[in-house]
Amino acid sequence: MAERNVESVNKVREAVSQDLLGGRIDLLLGWEKGHYWWQSRPLFARSEADLEKLAWDSFCAVNLSRYLLEELKDHDKVGVLVKGCDARAFNRLLQDNMVRREQVILYGLPCPGMLDYNRLVEKAGGAPLEITEENGRVIIKVGSGEQEAQRDDLLLDKCKDCRYPDPAVYDQLLFSPQGEKEVTERFKTVEELEEMSAEERFGYWEKELSRCLRCYACRQACPFCSCRECFVEQENPRWQGRAYQPSENFMFHLVRAYHGTGRCIDCGECERSCPVDIPLQELNRKLIKDINELYGDYEAGLDPEQEPPLLTYRPDDPAAFSEK
């Protein structure tokens, strides 16, 4: 992976360093390498030295826009590296009045999709030591030799069915866009769940949600969760208990999903950040599918000017309950 990557990281660094060092932005939100080579974590760059750590590789899954919520309190102008999902998340924040457009400079990065370490392990049949990428193929080096795999087979779940890998909003696009991707399986699991009987479905979610630790990582990673005080933490009224028992877990996840109706940008960060692998994206996608079916296709975060279906009234809105 080395060469192509060095080049592109340099290109990104070059683009942002002028702005950061020239004082056009006070902070750059990007990625740096984590403990392991297969981890890229958020980088909060304020200096040239910080920029040295900048990474742009196949593990930059973290959605950076969400960090603006905090960082804009302390910085006047922030630069953010945005993939397709980061850009849609930015539009989400923009539409929710959480940020002002002029406070942020967006550096657009058309995204090839990020890789899933677990899939690498699976393919390699052991702990991989490093990878190299070439023309849509990934060569995984393990102690005993090398394994080769299709890059598409190693993608994170959230990237597999990503329809808009190019940023929908940016000030500067750093690489050439790849265009809208055709996705066929985005609602496959939702459809399977819809096929189930109510009891089966309840059983499915009861099992999945029973693992929830109520750590709220999903909420913290989510660009639509921008409440100052989440309903789970409110005391008066106390909407729900804190204990992690099935009924309370249901309440939390269903209410959270409903709060994202017509707002979720389908970045999948909730599911990716979940430490116990609850398929949270399916809850969100069920609501995305419902919104599409009821109000016509709507992709949250693509166009902040487009009015969200649940905040507008059209005379032909479905209202089955009031029909004759």
Binding site: K73, N97, M98, S226, R228, N236, W239, P315
Partner: protein
């Protein structure tokens, strides 16, 4: 801890018949905060109210729960009683143990615990009730009447006579509406125009009435006492100030189009007044058929107009005015019977609807008042009237009875006999419905003295043969097939809501039934009110109606409007929304959802680290807020509370019901 008093009403046997009152009173004594509990046969009576007022004073109560009928019925009664004892009326809470309990249950064993649970919930909520003050609001002393038919004219005249300004908005070029199209009126047979036109003229001349014809309502905002309305006055292309109504323009105009007023049976010019007695007598140019607008040449009207009133450059004008009250009187349409293929409507000139036949009688109508067939100009000798075309028809039409058809059919049959003495009428009916003063007598007269044969039955097919129409039907009383060789067929097509009624309802903010007739607030007790305060309805836009009913309803609506306009101040809504700004993230979804534009963004300052952070949050204008609660349910973080129905109050109710089972 609050000092709550609980009062339970027997409502005769309405509640006491199904709910064990003694048990309920006993249980109430054990609710948290309850220091007094009592019952009475009729709490809403004066005696009952006294019991409440006295108990408040004697027991120093600061919260009151009444277990009675729906708050829609008597909440105000009890609030007043509480206020009498010096308690803020919003500290009283109603538990609906009649509609929500005794009326829907039969078993006392089950109904009693439910009544107790409802009371427990009300007591839990009451404990959290806060004293509220209703804002006092101004009333714009002007009414808007939408629709210039007989309903609108009558309502406007009554309001104007009471001394208030009224604007009538009429979408057609003249006021007059459906009644202007009628020949004579049942059951007295006086000429419709003769009794209508004086009212039209009176409306036009009344100093308090402002006619806005050829105009439509574009937008209604605001609320009772202060409706802000945008009215689009469509371009007439004629200057109404200069125009003298001399008629030269429409005499000279070379192009024609079907006349809407004549139901398309004859043509009118492209510059026209809809009918001879039009008010105002100012023509309009119909752009779609005008040669000048279509092809850029002609301009004869402009050249010929003596006062030079023609103005092709005229634009639609938007008038913005504030009104205290609105009367909606937009009338009805006639169902298009082409959906009933068997009747052949539209395929033969002698198959008419009731309203079309009405025009045939009229001296200024398409035949100049001669009752003749449109096919050959000869008088019809045999006319078949068919009732209930689209009315009382679950399968293909409307479920309801159009109410006026039986009577106007009898009228038309009588008129026919007068004009064509050797004519014979046949009426196919399901039932003849003649409720109303003098109506039955009138219909009998038609049957007995005017040679009208009433046949209970249905027509299955109508088709032309030689120079007549063959009507095949069945007489359901004798079960015999009937075949009539008729010269003319008149279809009593159903009275239906105006095609644009749903849109207008949405615009004005009133709802309609499944047929798109506007809904009254209560079918018996609030027949002219709507669920939106300050908006009243009159005439056939509410349901099919004849003229006397329409006029009485219009006067009723006018009285309601006058009552409103005569108030110095209106009591606004006390239960308004409020934003908990420290929790508000400022997403302003509430602003998007608010139907009353009562929510606006506001910038606040908050302490942050060593400095101050400015941020935007939502704010509710209590004068504009109508307490609908849409914002409260839209707010994800629960940062909006509807006063009187706050989140913690609702949760307290839920807990009181669920946690004690």
């Amino acid at each position: 801890m609050p000092r709550t008093g609980v009062f339970i009403c027997h409502c005769g046997t309405n509640i006491a018949g199904t709910v064990d009152i003694d048990k309920t009173v006993e249980a109430s004594r054990n609710f948290p905060g309850v220091v007094h509990a009592d019952e009475y046969r009729y709490l809403c009576s004066e005696m009952g109210q006294d019991i409440i007022t006295k108990a408040i004073k004697e027991n120093d109560l600061d919260r009151v729960v009444v277990g009675t009928c729906s708050p829609r019925m008597h909440e105000n009664t009890f609030r007043k009683a509480a206020a009498e004892a010096g308690l803020n009326p919003y500290l009283l809470e109603v538990a609906n143990i009649r509609e929500h309990c005794s009326w829907v249950h039969k078993d006392m064993e089950e109904a009693t615990p439910k009544a107790i649970a409802l009371l427990r919930a009300a007591a839990a909520k009451a404990a959290l009730n806060e004293a509220l003050e209703a804002p006092r609001l101004d009333v714009e002393k002007r009414a808007l009447v939408i629709g210039g038919g007989i309903a609108g004219i009558q309502a406007a005249l009554d309001i104007a006579e009471a001394g208030y300004e009224v604007d009538i908005v009429e979408k057609d070029p003249s006021i007059g509406g459906r009644m202007a199209q009628l020949e004579k009126t049942f059951p007295t047979l006086d000429c419709s125009a003769c009794i209508l036109t004086p009212k039209m003229v009176e409306a036009a001349q009344h100093p308090n009435i402002n006619l806005l014809t050829y105009s439509e309502v574009d937008e209604v905002k605001g609320f009772v006492g202060q409706f802000d309305v945008k009215i689009r006055q469509k371009a007439r292309y004629v200057d109404p100030v200069k125009c003298t109504g001399c008629g030269i323009c429409w005499e000279k105009c070379p192009s024609k189009a079907p006349s809407e007023f004549e139901m398309g049976l004859s043509k009118r010019k492209s510059i026209y007044v809809p009918f001879a007695q039009a008010v105002p007598m100012v023509p309009v140019i119909d752009r779609d058929s005008c040669l000048y607008f279509r092809k850029g040449r002609c301009q004869i009207c402009e050249k010929e107009c003596p006062p030079q009133a023609i103005d092709y450059e005229q634009q639609d004008e938007i008038i913005e005015r504030r009104y205290g009250a609105i009367v909606v009187a937009t009338g009805f349409d006639q169902l298009d019977p082409t959906i009933y293929g068997e009747y052949g409507y539209g395929q033969h000139p002698d198959i008419l609807t009731g309203l079309e036949f009405e025009r045939i009688f009229n001296a200024s109508g398409p035949t100049g008042g001669k009752v003749v067939k449109l096919s050959d100009g000869k008088p019809p000798k045999k006319v078949v009237f068919i009732q209930c075309i689209g009315s009382r028809d679950k399968a293909r039409g409307m479920n309801y009875c159009s109410k006026i058809c039986c009577m106007y059919t009898a009228k038309q049959a009588i008129l026919l006999k007068e004009k064509v003495p050797d004519a014979k009428s046949y009426v196919f009916y399901i039932d003849v419905r003649t409720g109303g003063k003098g109506y039955e007598e009138f219909q009998r007269r038609a049957a007995e003295e005017h040679d009208v044969a009433y046949m209970r039955g249905q027509v299955g097919k109508i088709f032309p043969e030689d120079d007549h129409l063959v009507v095949r039907g069945i007489d359901s009383l004798t079960n015999r097939n009937i075949e009539i060789k008729a010269d003319m067929v008149v279809l009593a097509a159903a009275t239906v809501a105006r095609g644009d009624a749903p849109e207008l309802g949405r615009l004005v903010g009133i709802n309609s039934d499944s047929y798109h007739f506007f809904n009254e607030a209560h079918p018996k007790l609030k027949p002219v009110e709507t669920h939106t305060a300050g908006i009243f309805i009159a005439g056939a836009c509410q349901a099919p109606k004849d003229i006397p009913e329409t006029v009485s309803q219009a006067s009723a609506a006018a009285v309601k409007a006058i009552g409103l306009l005569s108030k110095e101040k209106l009591q606004g809504e006390a239960c308004t929304a409020e934003v908990i700004q420290s929790d508000c993230s400022g997403c302003l979804n509430c602003e998007a959802i608010c139907p009353y534009t009562a929510i606006t963004p506001v910038e606040i300052e908050e302490r942050y680290k060593d400095g101050v952070l400015k941020r935007t949050v939502a704010e509710v204008n209590p004068a504009l807020c109508q307490g609908c609660g849409s914002c409260a349910v839209t707010c994800r973080s629960g940062s909006i509370n509807l006063k009187g129905f706050s989140n913690d109050q609702i949760m307290a109710e839920v807990d009181a019901i669920c946690l004690q089972r």
